[in-house]
Symmetry: D2
Subunit: 338 residues, 4 copies
C-alpha cells in the first residue's frame, strides 16, 4: 500500500501516518519527493482496509493498494487451472463445455425436446430457469418447483447434468436438491448472503458477472464462495452495460484472457444475454472459443417464436446444431475438445 | 405497442402478427409506409410481454412499447404526491427531510454521539448500518443484531426514528423488529425476493437506485413493493457508474425532476455514496435541494478519520451542522421546510 | 511517480529500472515490500511519459503517476481564481453569468427577438451557432458567415457580447473576426489542432467538456490552449454519456466543485445539452448555481416549436425570464451577482 | 416515423401534428389507442429532422424514427460487400488484411526494421503515425513531415502501402501526398470538417470508431465521407469507454457482425488500442478473425520497451510473427485468406 500525502504535509502529519501504520502492524518506508511525500506500507494489506483507515486523514491525498484484494481466487494462490466437475463433465483446460437450454422451463414437451436436441448436437450440460429474475413483477416468473422436476426428468432421460438459478436463500435448499450446479445470476452477483450460502454447499456454482461489475468485483464475489470452503466455482462473462444501444449489453471478451491471468477458475461466455440478439450468437460463440473461454452458456429453444421469455436471443435446435459443428472445427486449433 | 416489420414483409407475415395480437386481446391498426409496414397494438400492454412474444418473429424489426411498464408507481395512476410517514416524520411535498448518521454502527459512544449531534443540527431520522454489504469478504461486515440494539437505544434517547439496511430475507424480520424504515441497498435493487418480502411488511421502505440501473428499472423495482400492498416507498438517487474516475459514482441529479414527472413517490439524494468524497457533500446537498429532492441521506461520523467504513466520504458533526444551516437558508426559496 | 515491480523481480531487473530513471534525471527510492518491490521516482514527472517509458518493461506491474499531468491549468500553479473578460462582462468569482440564445442562428427576426428578450431578462452574453456540428450530413448545418453577421448585428443593437462555435481551423479567422468569445464544442474537445489555433488567438475561449471525456482530460485540453499563451479560458460541463436513456446525457454537477479544487479557471453549466429536455432546464439551472458554477449556457428560442435544431431542449423567452427571476433570488445566498 | 402524443391530447393538437406532417410532405396515419394517440408519418424521413420539428410540440411525448438515418452507407443502398483497394491490396470479403507497424514513427531504423519484419511475417499494409494526437501538450507529438518521408521510404523498400493519420485539414494535403490510405482517428470521428475534406479526396480512408460513439454514429460519420463521393471507406472498431478499469477500453467485438448487417463497408479490429495491453492482443486478434472482421490494425514495435509512445500495448516482431502464424491456421475455417 502506498500513501501519497498532500503537498506541504507537516512533519507531525507524516508522523501520524507512520504511527497508524505501525499500530496496524505494517513496516514503513518514507520517500521524500520534490512536491510530495510518499509512504510505503510494508506488510499484508488484505483484510485491513487501509484505504479507509489512512485515506480518511485530511492530509492524505491518495492511498494506492498494491496487492489484489482477493486471495483464494488468485492465480498467485493457486497456479494450476482449477477443474470443476459437474457429475461426469469436467470444466477446465483442454475442454470446451457447451451448456445449453431454454431461458425458462415452460413445459414438459419444451424441456424434453430441447434436452434431446442439445445432447444430440453435443451440448454437455442442460440449462433452464425455474425461478426467473424479471425486471417487472408482471412478467412470467418461472414454474418454480414444477420446473425443477421437469429438469430432473430431462436429466433422467438424457443423462445431461442440469444447472439452474437460485434467486434467494429460501429456495436454495430446494434448488440444490434437484440441480447439479447452482447458478448465481448477474443481478445477484453482489447478493452477499446468497454467495455465503452457496459457499456452504458442496455443489458446483456458476457465478455470472453483474452487468455493472468490474472483473475484480467478480473475483471478489467468487472469493466469498471460496472463503466458505466451496472451490467448485465457474465464472461467466455475460456482457456489461454501456452507452451502446444496438445490443442489450456489450460482451467483454477481453475479460476472458484477463481472468485467466488473474485467477485459476474456469470462465464461460454467455453470448445470448451478452448481445440479446440471436443473430449475433453464432459469431460471438466462435470468438469466445478463439479467445480462450472454457465453454459457453447458450439459450436454445425448440421454437423461439413461442418462448415465454428471452425469445429474441434464443437460437433454434437447428441453429445450435450448426453452431456446434462449426465450433468442433475450430476447437482443435486452440487445443480444446468439445 | 408499435410493431415495425422488416422491409419487404410478406402479406402472410403481416397476417401472422395480426393473428398473434388478436389472440392476446389487442386491437390492431396497420399502417403501410413507403419502406416499412407498421402495426399498432391497441390495448393495455402491461403484463403482456409483447416485446418477447412479437419481437421474436423473424420478420419483425422492432417492437416499441408506448406505455411505461409500471402502473402503481406511475404519476398517471396517482396524481398526488405520496407522503411517507416514518413515525412522526413526514417525507413528501413541502418538507426537506435530512436522514443522517454513520455508515456503519461501530460502538455505543459512536452512535449516541452521532445521534445527539444529528438531532441537534436538525436531522430528522437516524441512519446507520448493522449489516453491511461489502465487496470483500474480509472487510468489516457490521455488528449485526448488536448494532440494531444500539440504534434502538439511540432512538429511545433522542426520539429520532431509525432507518437501517436489510441484506437478505432471513434477517428481515429481525431488522423490521428494530427499524422504523427498512433500507434496500443499491446492490439489492433487483433482488426481487427481497423486494417482495418488504412489500409484505407494513413499514416504510427506502429503496436505493442501483449504480447501473436506469430510472425506469428503479421504478419497476418500486412496483414490486407496491404490488404487494406496501405503498410506503421512498426512492433514493445515490450515483451511477460511469467512465469518470474522479468520483466514486456520478450523482445523477437530473433523475430527481424526472422521477417527479413519472412517479408520485418521494425521492431523496445520497451525495455521500454518490460522490465518495466528503469535500463534495456540501455543494451537492445544496444542489439536491435546489433541484427538487424531498430530502437527503448523509453520512456523518463523530470522527471520520477513525471510521471502520466509508470514512473518506463521511462528514463530521460540525460540517453537518454548517451544512444544515446553509440548507435552512435555501429551503424557503423552494417552498420546503427542514 | 511510483513503479510497482512484479512479484519476484530479479535484482538486475530492479537495476534496469533504476538505470532508466537516473538517465531521465530522476532521483530513486527503493522500497522492498513483503510481496513486491516498489520504486519511487523523485523529480518533475510532467513532460516525461514515465508510464510508457517504464511501464513497458515486462517486469513492471504498474506505474502510478503522483502529480496531475497539467500545470498551467492547475490550482497549484495559480491559487487565485481566474477572471475571464468578454468585452465588459466578467466571468469569475462573485458573478453568475448567464449566456443564452438559440442553438442555431436561423433568421434575423429570430436572432433579434431572442437577443432583446435575453438581455431584458438578465442574460449577459448572446450565444448562437452559425456553423453547426451535426451527426448527419443531411441535417441543417448553420447559416455560416450570414449567421455571424446576424449575431454581430444583434450585438450592435443590444450591446451583448457574442459567443459562437468554430468547427475547424479554416473558419477560425472568420469566426474570430465576428465573435467576442470562441466556443470549442464537445466533439472538438480533443481536436488538438483547433485547440492550438485558439491558443494563439487573444480572444476568450469557451471550452466544452466532451461527452466522452474525463475531467482531467478536459483540463489537459485547456492546457493546450494555455500553453500557447491564451489564459482566457472558460470551461463548460454539458453532460457525459452514460447507460441512462431517459436523458440525452447525464449532467455531471459534481464536476463543478471538483474543477474548482483542481483548477483556477471558471466553469459554466449547460443544462440544455446536458439533459436534452427543456422541462429539466429550470431545476438543473438552480442546481448549477447552488453547486458553485460561475454561470450558465442556456438555449433560448423565441418559438421552440419552430426551431430548426435542438427545439426539444430550448426554452421560450418567457420561461427564460422566469428562470432568471428564480436564479436572482438564490444568487445572494451563494455570494454571487447576476 | 411514429409520433406518440401525450395522454389526453386534444383533437386540435392532433390536427396540429397532422398539419405539420402534411406540410413537410408526409402521409399521415392516425391510430387511436386506449391511452394514447399515435400518428404514423409516411414518407422518406431522412433529411427531415422530424424528431426536432415534431418532438418539440408540448403535447408530443415521443418521436420514434423507423428508418436508419444513413443511406449510402447502408446495406439497403448497396447489398454487395464493398471492396476497398489500397494500391494492390484488397480489403473485403474472402480476405483478412493485417495492417501493422509502430504507433509513432520514431527513426529510420525503427520504421525500416518494423516494415521488413511486418512484411516478412505476412502484414499487407504498414501503419505508423507522423502526427500524433496526444492528451497532453507535453507528450511526443510525432515527427511530422519527416515521419511521412520515412514511411514513404519504407514503402519504396518493402512495397507495402502505408496508412497514416491526418489530425487536421491543414496537414491533409501533405499527408495525402505521402500516404496510400488516410486514417481518421477516434477523437476525430465527429470532426465533420475533416470528414468532408477526406470525402473530397480520391484516396481510401480508414475511419476509427470514437471511444464513446455508437455504431450508428460511426456509420453516420462514414456517410459524411460517402456523401462527398468517396466510397473507399474502411471502418475500424477500437474499443469503447466503459466503467471497467482493467483495460484501456472495452473492445466491442459484437460490433463486427452488427456492422456487417447494417452496412456494406469493410471493418477491421484494432486490439492494441482496444485493450491497451500487449498481452491481450494475440487472443483478441484470433477472436476478431472468428467473429468476421475483414482484418486487423496491430501495433508492432521492434523494441516495445524503448517506444516513444504506446509501448505497453505494442507487440514485438517475434510476437507478431507467431500471431500471424496462428491466424493463418484459423483463416481457412472462416473462408478468408491472409
Amino acid at each position: 500500500m502506498i500513501i501519497v500525502l498532500r503537498s506541504g504535509a507537516a512533519p507531525q502529519e507524516i508522523e501520524e501516518v507512520v504511527r497508524r501504520l505501525k499500530k496496524l502492524g505494517f513496516g514503513v518506508h518514507i520517500s521524500q519527493g520534490t512536491e510530495r511525500t510518499i509512504i510505503g506500507a510494508i506488510g499484508d494489506e488484505r483484510g485491513v482496509n487501509l484505504e479507509e483507515k489512512i485515506g480518511v486523514l485530511p492530509f492524505v491525498e491518495r492511498v494506492i493498494p498494491i496487492l489484489t484484494p482477493y486471495k483464494l481466487t488468485s492465480r498467485e494462490f493457486r497456479e494450476q487451472d482449477t477443474v470443476v466437475r459437474v457429475n461426469d463433465v469436467e470444466i477446465g483446460p483442454g475442454k470446451f463445455v457447451i451448456i445449453a437450454g431454454p431461458c425458462a422451463v415452460e413445459s414438459e414437451t419444451q424441456v424434453m425436446e430441447t434436452a434431446f436436441r442439445v445432447k444430440e448436437a453435443g451440448g454437455k450440460i442442460l440449462r433452464g430457469g425455474a425461478f426467473k429474475p424479471r425486471t417487472s413483477p408482471y412478467s412470467f416468473q418461472g414454474l418454480g418447483e414444477e420446473g425443477l422436476k421437469l429438469l430432473a426428468r430431462a436429466r433422467e432421460l438424457t443423462g445431461l447434468p442440469i444447472v439452474t438459478e437460485a434467486l434467494g436463500i429460501e429456495e436454495l435448499p430446494m434448488v440444490a436438491e434437484y440441480a447439479d450446479m447452482i447458478q448465481i445470476g448477474a443481478r445477484n452477483m453482489q447478493n452477499f448472503r446468497l454467495l455465503e450460502a452457496v459457499g456452504k454447499l458442496r455443489k458446483p456454482v456458476l457465478l455470472k458477472r453483474g452487468m455493472m461489475n468490474t472483473i475484480d468485483e467478480m473475483l471478489m464475489s467468487a472469493e466469498y464462495i471460496l472463503a466458505q470452503g466451496n472451490y467448485q466455482v465457474v465464472l461467466c462473462e455475460r456482457g456489461i452495460r454501456t452507452f451502446e444501444p444496438a445490443t442489450r449489453n456489450t460482451l467483454d471478451l477481453s475479460c476472458i484472457p484477463l481472468v485467466k491471468k488473474k485467477s485459476h477458475l474456469p470462465i464461460l461466455v454467455d453470448p445470448s444475454h451478452g448481445t440479446g440478439r440471436s443473430d449475433l450468437v453464432h459469431p460471438m460463440c466462435l470468438a469466445a472459443l478463439a479467445v480462450g473461454a472454457d465453454g459457453l452458456l447458450v439459450e436454445v429453444h425448440p421454437n423461439p417464436v413461442e418462448a415465454l421469455s428471452d425469445g429474441p436471443q434464443s437460437i433454434s435446435p437447428d441453429q445450435f446444431f450448426s453452431l456446434v459443428r462449426d465450433l468442433r472445427r475450430f476447437a482443435p486449433l486452440v487445443g480444446r475438445e468439445i
